[in-house]
Assembly symmetry: C3
Homo-oligomer: 458 residues x 3
């Protein structure tokens, strides 16, 4: 049943109003709570007798910038593989991440950096906020093309809070190590998005099937995303680790792991195809699984061989997932996973968490020397054995899966609020629903896309 154009236009008003409201609210909260930390405040920094070279900025800002590229260029363009959804992929990534950065600065600030009634910010809060935005974008990947921007904004609103709480439970309460976020970012983001996508299941999504694929140039745009993600993943995993050998080792392990996941993806993609040809979907995604799988363990003494083996396994699992499991996920589990986040972030994230369990359980004073304090402070201080640390890591994975599942379920209910606008089954994966699109394809532009009742999302 078609709704009136007036009503449709009214529903569209919700996006700007929500956006202005949230911006106003975060601005007020910033005014009340957010302050420069002692490395960004002119008076505080100069009060201490620091050498300027000792400012955290010089140790973390280059990594931050690499992470920033991954969030906005990497995720944005990776999702631009769809033939008619490039504006939305890049644009909504931009929008969602910008909001998540502000909102997460507040949530993570309250949980991790709240001292004397104020949140103290600097380059570390910038990195953490970008990490949280990464989780939101992973979830976005699961529902890409099937949601409106106001829905996405509400998803981010909820997910940022749950991300912060889950991260707090893991890192602060359980003493879990997860520098590159195999659990807190990838597993959490993936299963949050997948459960959410399950709740929003559309039985008649095949109405938009003709727009679900790529075209030649959209695949090349997606490769821009893939390659920048791949290049900068060593910086992602190492951005928050301890200075010195910690950042250095983390970057090195991630670099090796990614080369191996790339080779296994090329091999497996050719193997599983009918005629030995490579599939762009595998290359664009599974080649990145090596970054995900060492998210937890790359700061540990994983060894270069361990990094290669982990990357190889992740690329293999991820490619096989795209080929064999994604169809089952939709047909059997009614989860429509647009970007295959289950293959790129879900399974490799869980594998990464388990690898972290293993490597933590093998930690010895001999292997880490005085560096044990940086990687496993609780073991170094004698509060925990390596086995106990491993058990805590494992428990962290379960906590994450629980937070993600419950959160995704709640998110799904939230996104089904009747006031929210979303594309009908035949309008999915189509930029024209939310963007003014240059009149390249005159015929498409003639379709009466505007005044149709959103239908089966129920």
């Amino acid at each position: 049943m078609a709704e009136s154009p007036r009503r449709a236009a009214g529903r569209r008003l919700l996006l700007p109003l929500l956006c202005l409201f949230f911006q106003g609210a975060t601005a007020i909260l910033f005014a009340v709570f957010v302050r420069y930390n002692h490395e960004t405040d002119a008076a505080l920094w100069h009060w201490g007798n620091h050498s300027n070279a000792a400012n955290e900025f010089y140790f973390r800002y280059p990594s931050f910038q690499d992470v920033h590229v991954m969030i906005f260029v990497g995720f944005g363009f990776l999702m631009a593989f769809l033939q008619r959804y490039g504006f939305s992929s890049v644009g909504f990534t931009f929008f969602l991440a910008a909001f998540a950065l502000q909102w997460s600065t507040l949530i993570q600030g309250f949980l991790h950096a709240f001292h004397g009634g104020h949140i103290h910010v600097g380059v570390e809060s910038m990195i953490n906020a970008d990490f949280c935005a990464g989780a939101v974008l992973i979830s976005f990947g699961a529902i890409l093309g099937k949601t409106g921007p106001a829905q996405l904004l509400l998803m981010a609103l909820l997910e940022v809070v749950l991300f912060g709480v889950n991260e707090f439970v893991l890192l602060s309460l359980l003493g879990v190590r997860d520098a590159g976020g195999s659990m807190t970012i990838h597993t959490f983001g993936a299963y949050f998005g997948l459960v959410l996508s399950r709740v929003l299941y559309r039985p008649r999504l095949e109405k938009s099937k003709h727009r679900q694929g790529s075209v030649y140039h959209s695949d090349l745009f997606a490769m821009i995303g893939t390659i920048f993600l791949w290049i900068f993943w060593p910086s992602f995993n190492s951005a928050p680790t301890s200075l010195g050998d910690g950042q250095h080792r983390t970057a090195l392990n991630t670099y090796y792991s990614l080369t191996a996941s790339t080779l296994s993806t090329f091999a497996l993609s050719a193997l599983v195809s009918r005629d030995g040809r490579l599939d762009m979907v595998h290359i664009q995604n599974a080649a990145l699984a090596g970054g995900v799988v060492v998210g937890t363990s790359s700061e540990m003494m994983l060894t270069p061989f361990g990094a290669l083996a982990a990357g190889f396994l992740a690329g293999t699992v991820s490619t096989l997932g795209y080929k064999f499991f994604t169809p089952i996920l939709e047909s059997k589990f009614k989860v429509q996973d647009t970007c295959g986040v289950h293959n790129l972030h879900g399974m490799p994230g869980i594998l990464g968490a388990l690898l972290g369990v293993l490597v933590a359980g093998l930690a010895t004073h001999e292997a880490y020397g005085d560096g044990l304090e940086n990687v496993f402070p609780l073991i170094a201080e004698g509060q925990r054995s390596a086995t106990s640390q491993a058990m805590h890591q494992l428990f962290g994975l379960f906590v994450t899966l629980m937070f993600a599942s419950v959160g995704g379920g709640l998110g799904g209910l939230l996104l089904k609020l009747p006031c929210l606008d979303y594309p009908s089954d035949s309008q999915c994966y189509e930029d024209q629903v939310y963007w003014e699109v240059p009149g390249e394809h005159e015929d498409t532009a003639q379709e009466p896309l505007r005044v149709e009742e959103p239908d089966t999302q129920a």
Copy 2:
């Protein structure tokens, strides 16, 4: 009236001849004047008893590289939104900026780093030259599609000189603070280009109207530019600030401001459209206004809330400018502003200058502590009150507007020299005029584009 092909070809010779002449001239000036500074010269660096870690390179080169990406990728691709002007947008950006880097090294060197008869160069001169190239590219944005490369080269020749003089007056004579260049780069570049565009007004530009818009993939190329500009703007504003807390705070403020301008742009773009749909022009441009508006004040104690508020305001003003003011600018003021630089650099630049007036006027010894010396040395040394600094800042804005306007006028006259080649009214926004274009669109290739008399630029 058509000119003969021979004469047209003759006019085309001017570009390579000018280019070779200017390159020869700058090379000679480099040979005579330019020398390594004490951080790039092998003998000088090792003569002092420095730790290698103290070399300025490590504090500024990562920021420089981010700025470099902005200038060449950011500006180049942002301007590639036009459907048939991508080669020129990216290519002339490349060409103009390469020339501006050399020429500006000389001009800024004579004005700022001329000691003992020599210009001393290092990473700071690289950053400064890139900044100057940024101003030239802003001006290029105003006249994009309507000028030939020889004209652009002459524009850069003049603009680099005036940029250097204006910067010298502001920073060295008036003691104005303007690290990220709200005034020296954005306001100057925008109004220089706008006045120049006014002088080159083409009453019959609608002959090229069908090429003024984008196509689907050209908008995605433009988003590459937008996103890289957005990501690296914190590095742009912080590249030349004082080490330690200065760079750190500047990057943080800019990061917040950009998130807010992004949210306000999305909100406003949806609000001002007929049917709630988003406009790519707004997203590509106005979302960046948050970087411009804190160009002057981001090194100051703006506070995180101040950064959000400034960014929000800039995104709003910029989006409204694209929607409502750009048409008036053309119809009433006869300024044809191809990229809308008035909205992205002009108004936000002025706002940024005024914000600098405000924040400078509020500077106190309490807020800055011993860091006051770095941000407002004249106040710290007791030579000026905060109010006096604010007045100097305001005067700097007027000086900049004057230099830009007079310079743009002169530039317009220069570009109207009869020997210079430019596209006719029906050839604007068309790569084929200056580039060999692969024969994708056979019909277009058949148009007798070559031998037409350039007509209305008068």
Copy 3:
């Protein structure tokens, strides 16, 4: 003569099998030989009493990341100029470089960092491996579009070994200086690829002529590669140089050289064209020659003027090469050089080596002061005169040309192994041979591309 589909499919199996075999082999070698060095190992780093700020990571990782972008984005997209070979250009770059990084870590490790039975890895081995991948990709450029991925993998297998040996002979045995690799990377990669292309000469390649050109958007994708290469080349040349003034000066010289090669390319491209129009092939490639030509000398006291002059010369030679020499190379020398690597890497590489001879021969204690130890340790220690160093540099060039030529010849024979799959003459420059391509061009998809006997590569 057509081979059976079954046999064709069988030949396709070779890629994944080789890939899995090589990955297994490198993994085993990593397990046996590769260990963290004292800056990435937790115990070793903390055993020494280092400040974390002294970790090599902070001095080289930002440069490494820039190099990493050049290898994967730069080379990948630069080669995506072909209208129907974008997937292969970006994808095989990704694949080949990932393999080369692992393999080269082993080869270079055995030759340069093998102590106590182990290869020690850290950021320097990462940079060196990326450099080696660069040489492989240069060779790839010469045979782009005419080879299958299994062939490319074997090429990389051989080339990485010879690259390592040649580099060892030059740097370790001959004491040659070549920080940015004018010889070891560019000359070696180019002539290896050119000789290999000669061996694989296809007399009937004109059957694929219609796919050898670009289309409008493929040229813009290629410009992404060009611009990122251009921007980050200063980091490439400076990544392995001595800390402090060494990295600083190298970056500065490269920056100047590139601006000059850009200006000369624009000038020459317009000059040599029939009608004064610019050619994208020149801009995309020759503008980069300034980075190649100072690969050897940019760490030396080249002077800013010297950098400009070198860049200007390289841009000129390179542009003229594309215009006049490439056709001769094919018609007279039977070398089909798809990307013109002879113009971008071959001739500028040799020029760069000769420039290194010149600048080394002019080295004096006055010019370098105590910095001479870093740039020319053998001269500083009195083991060599400047003239002798120059002669060694020149001899290094001959050694490189010999290794490259013999290696390329061997490579050609290796790639002609009958078990290897390669495209037929009419299938060259076509993604569909090795990739699932979205059905954009239905007509092309109908061509029976699969079951044709590869024909003239002989």
